[in-house]
């Protein structure tokens, strides 16, 4: 069996992200959908519905009367908040474990993923992009490939680290060189097998901009930039550290100055509390 065949076998053993995430994304980023359409999709998944209602009725939201259906939850909290909760809850199981190969303790990857998703959405709003929820979810699950690749990274750690330390490879380039596939490519394979939209598969595949021409896609550019910022903030970063390349074209493409980047980071600093709250809620 080749490494790739072995990896595909391992993907089949992963706990998949529930189908509800795909269904919600299909309606929520469609401008013709109504709030009712979205609520309808959510309420057909009893586990997620129960979970969402429990969260909505937690002390955090301080609702006077408990929400007893998704429709009332949507009315009380707003559609954005409910959708965000559904998407976050869909990702929790798959992303909350530790990862020895990347030096991540339990919860680190989840913290990093939620932070990236929050920054990506912040950027999507700033640049007035459509498909904000697709961007949020892509940023949330973009490192799913690490979960499968981590045992291989662990086994080849010294070879990978040698390329990074002494041969000027980025960590992703070293993964590709040593294992034959990097975590972004593998993540895209997983997303495809889980039937995520081609758009999401593409964002995950290119979230480190290994193919620089992809920078023209603003959704990819935004998820990429969010990842760079998150890496710098260090929250949930593993032994790969900041060993990824920054492509300066992204700031030109998005029309940003160095000061804009600082402002985006400061904005995220203000939102840190929101990230912590989301982490506690989900």
């Amino acid at each position: 069996m080749t490494t790739i065949q072995k990896l595909i076998k391992e993907i089949e053993n992963l706990k998949p992200i529930p189908a509800i995430a795909n269904q919600v994304l299909a309606v929520v980023d469609n401008p013709d959908s109504s709030m009712e359409d979205i609520a309808n999709v959510i309420q057909y998944d009893p586990a997620i519905t129960a979970n969402i209602l429990r969260t909505c009725n937690s002390v955090y939201f301080g609702l006077k009367n408990p929400a007893e259906s998704i429709k009332t939850a949507v009315n009380m909290l707003g559609i954005d908040q409910v959708v965000e909760l559904v998407l976050l809850k869909s990702g929790t199981k798959a992303l909350s474990g530790g990862s020895k190969g990347y030096g991540l303790e339990e919860g680190d990857m989840w913290r990093y993923s939620v932070s990236s998703a929050v920054i990506a959405k912040q950027l999507a709003v700033k640049f007035n992009l459509e498909n904000k929820n697709t961007i949020f979810t892509s940023a949330l699950i973009k490192d799913i490939g690490k979960i499968v690749l981590q045992t291989h990274v662990f086994d080849s750690y010294h070879k990978i680290q040698d390329l990074v330390d002494n041969k000027k490879y980025s960590f992703r380039e070293a993964e590709k060189k040593v294992i034959g596939i990097d975590h972004a490519e593998l993540g895209a394979m997983i997303a495809k097998m889980w039937k995520f939209s081609p758009k999401m598969v593409n964002i995950i595949r290119h979230h480190h901009l290994s193919d620089e021409s992809m920078i023209k896609d603003r959704e990819i550019a935004v998820v990429y930039l969010a990842d760079c910022i998150c890496m710098m903030m260090g929250n949930g970063v593993g032994l790969d550290g900041l060993s990824y390349r920054f492509k300066a074209q992204v700031v030109e493409e998005l029309g940003l100055s160095a000061d804009d980047i600082v402002m985006i980071i400061a904005e995220f600093g203000m939102n840190m509390k929101q990230v912590e709250e989301l982490l506690h809620m989900v």
Partner: protein, 176 residues
Amino acid sequence: MAFLNLSLRNNNGLGSCVKQIVGVADMKVSNNIKESIITYSLGSCIGLVIYDPVVKVGGILHYMLPESSIDKDKAAARPYMFADSGIPRLFKTAYKLGAVKQRMIIYAAGGAEILDQKGFFNIGKRNYMALKKMFFKNNVMINKQDVGGNKNRTVRIEIASGDIYVKTSGAKEVKI
């Protein structure tokens, strides 16, 4: 390594050692010898550790950005986010607990950088320069530092001993 194991055993032996966690854009100062202060996952942020061994007062500031002039409102709401608004507060809080500037032991960690950042993303370096500039003006010396590179770091100080430990992801904690 034997030394490291020994020091870890000692920590466990303390039993009642309470960990005060410093979040991002946050600060903690303590004179409680049963406490240690820790800040996790410094990327391009800087973890500034100060300690006065005479009165056993120590603190950590975890700041994200060099200058508060970028946004005065944010600096007012979150002063520990910036070097220039956070560092004076760290020192002043320690002075209130009896620490004296001349006795202060100072350690800085973090300021890491992403590869090929070409000036747009050199926040790590700018964070470190902001610290150096402020210390130069105020005649303060850094005793030790672990700054730059591409690793993220976790820093911890024990108030009783003033011992400082640093850990990079995937590696063991080491005493500096």
